[in-house]
């Protein structure tokens, strides 16, 4: 009885995702890749793909550096006011998005790639901090003490002991940061400017009218599969460690 119920809930959760992916590989005649071929014939989609990828990569790089350094100093020096990093995770995304819109407008900051990038990086910094911090707390402080006792200085200890030990946490954080930026929609919509499109914005422009189409299935599957790939890498990583 309960097994049947649990199975039904999982089918409910996964049926739409399977359906959209499978449907994107079919037309009335059977299996086809034509919807994907069509996608990559559209210049707008290629540009948006490039934009989404660049945003996610650069935002991940910046947030991993800033978030990791912050996590390190907060854990090692038992600094307070950590809630600084938790608020961005708790705040509803739409509120964060509109506050950036007002901020950029006040500064007359040009809306486009950089305004979106700075916005994505803000929540990514918070996520990286939380994840790396958990990892740093997980291993023995004594390993660092040993390194210091044996004559390494603080920088050497950080680079040769702390950093390698926290690497699984840093990679996990990078995967999450990449995904959050890659398929982000609300924050991008509020902070973008004329002419700057990402893949989620293109999906939104069509799906908002309630239109379901094979090409949109393909586009959604493409974005979704990249996110799922990141999740898969994350799971593999956490199994190993």
């Amino acid at each position: 009885m309960i097994k049947f119920f649990v199975a039904s809930v999982f089918i409910f959760l996964y049926l739409p995702i399977f359906y959209v992916i499978v449907a994107s590989f079919f037309d009335v005649k059977g299996f086809t890749l034509k919807w994907y071929e069509q996608l990559f014939q559209s210049k707008a989609i290629i540009v948006a793909f490039y934009n989404s990828l660049t945003l996610a990569l650069i935002s991940t790089a910046i947030s991993v550096i800033l978030g990791t350094l912050a996590a390190y100093s907060f854990v090692r020096y038992k600094m307070r006011s950590e809630s600084l990093f938790y608020t961005p995770i708790i705040i509803p995304e739409i509120t964060e998005a509109l506050s950036l819109l007002l901020f950029y407008n006040l500064l007359s900051f040009p809306m486009g790639f950089y305004s979106v990038l700075l916005g994505h990086t803000a929540f990514n910094v918070a996520f990286v901090y939380v994840i790396v911090r958990a990892r740093l707390e997980g291993f023995q402080r004594s390993l660092e003490d040993a390194s210091l006792t044996l004559g390494a200085n603080e920088v050497q200890t950080f680079l040769k002991v702390t950093l390698p030990l926290s690497m699984p946490g840093i990679v996990a954080a990078a995967l999450i940061a990449f995904t959050l930026s890659w398929d982000n929609f609300i924050k991008t919509a509020f902070t973008t400017g004329p002419g700057f499109q990402t893949l989620p914005l293109i999906i939104w422009a069509q799906a908002a009218r309630g239109v379901v189409s094979p090409s949109l299935n393909a586009l959604t599957s493409l974005v979704l599969l990249v996110s799922l790939l990141m999740a898969y890498l994350y799971v593999r990583l956490s199994r190993k460690t």
């Binding site: 309960i2 119920f5 649990v6 809930v9 999982f10 409910f12 959760l13 996964y14 739409p16 995702i17 359906y19 550096i65 350094l69 912050a70 390190y72 100093s73 600094m79 600084l84 961005p88 995770i89 708790i90 705040i91 509803p92 509120t95 964060e96 509109l98 506050s99 950036l100 819109l101 007002l102 901020f103 006040l106 700075l118 990086t121 803000a122 929540f123 910094v125 918070a126 603080e154 995904t179 982000n184 929609f185 609300i186 919509a189 509020f190 989620p200 999906i203 939104w204 799906a207 908002a208 309630g210 379901v212 949109l216 299935n217 959604t220 979704l224 996110s227 799922l228 990141m230 999740a231």
Partner: protein, 247 residues
């Protein structure tokens, strides 16, 4: 090397906290003269209707999520032999943006002719928020010491009585966390009602429209400040009860 945290702190102060301060300013009329007039939207009948509608959607979503999630969390925590696999299936949807998941649901609802209704919004909300309910429930059920359940059986309690008197009370922190994690964000949810709801208006769609369609940033800001106040108040209640925030 405390200074290593400075770049991240500075980043969040400038690109998260300062913008939020600006929202508060705007809600009081900035850059024009000071006014509390923007907060008068709460007395506007249209706003009240939208707010009650959101409240109804959020409440229904929370209740349905709780009913669906509890047996799932219970099964994974206490009965399943494939715990890791099922847990992974609960966590995976967290990696996919609501926009994509809601579109995926649209491809099922659309051929069934179920789009643009109140029911479609509820189905979409439950679909998107269900994992947010399962996870905290699982976390609290998982912590239950099996010997407590065995003790209950040993003293002759029926499975039903054991559930009601032992399991359910012990999972209360998970229920409270799940309810907050679903109720609070679903109150301001934008994507689901916008894509599946047709003319269904919520706090989320109203915020979006005030900012991106009507460019009424002042009343939009007031609305956001009210929403944030509700978010923090709920978190405050939770932290007061639970002692700390666990995600």
């Amino acid at each position: 090397m405390r200074f290593l945290s400075l770049p991240a702190i500075a980043y969040l102060l400038v690109l998260f906290y300062l913008p939020f301060l600006i929202v508060i300013f705007y809600s009081f009329g900035f850059p024009n003269e000071f006014t509390v007039g923007n907060y008068e939207i709460v007395t506007n009948p249209i706003f009240l209707k939208v707010f009650l509608n959101s409240l109804l959607i959020a409440a229904l979503t929370t209740v349905i999520c709780l009913i669906l999630a509890y047996p799932v969390a219970y099964y994974i925590a206490l009965k399943s032999e494939k715990k890791n696999l099922l847990l992974m299936l609960v966590i995976l949807p967290f990696w996919i943006n609501f926009l994509l998941r809601t579109y995926a649901l649209m491809t099922i609802l659309s051929p069934l002719g179920m789009m643009f209704t109140f029911q479609a919004v509820i189905i979409g909300m439950v679909y998107d928020y269900l994992p947010f309910m399962i996870l905290p429930l699982y976390a609290s059920l998982e912590k239950i010491n099996r010997s407590q359940l065995e003790a209950s059986y040993a003293f002759g309690a029926t499975p039903l009585k054991t559930f009601l008197k032992v399991t359910l009370p012990l999972s209360k922190p998970g229920i409270v966390a799940g309810v907050i994690l679903v109720f609070v964000p679903s109150l301001g949810e934008f994507v689901v009602p916008a894509m599946l709801g047709g003319t269904v208006a919520t706090v989320g769609t109203l915020t979006w429209d005030l900012f991106l369609r009507y460019h009424d940033w002042w009343r939009g800001s007031a609305l956001s400040v009210i929403y944030i106040a509700i978010v923090f108040f709920s978190l405050y209640l939770y932290i007061k009860r639970a002692g700390k925030l666990e995600l």
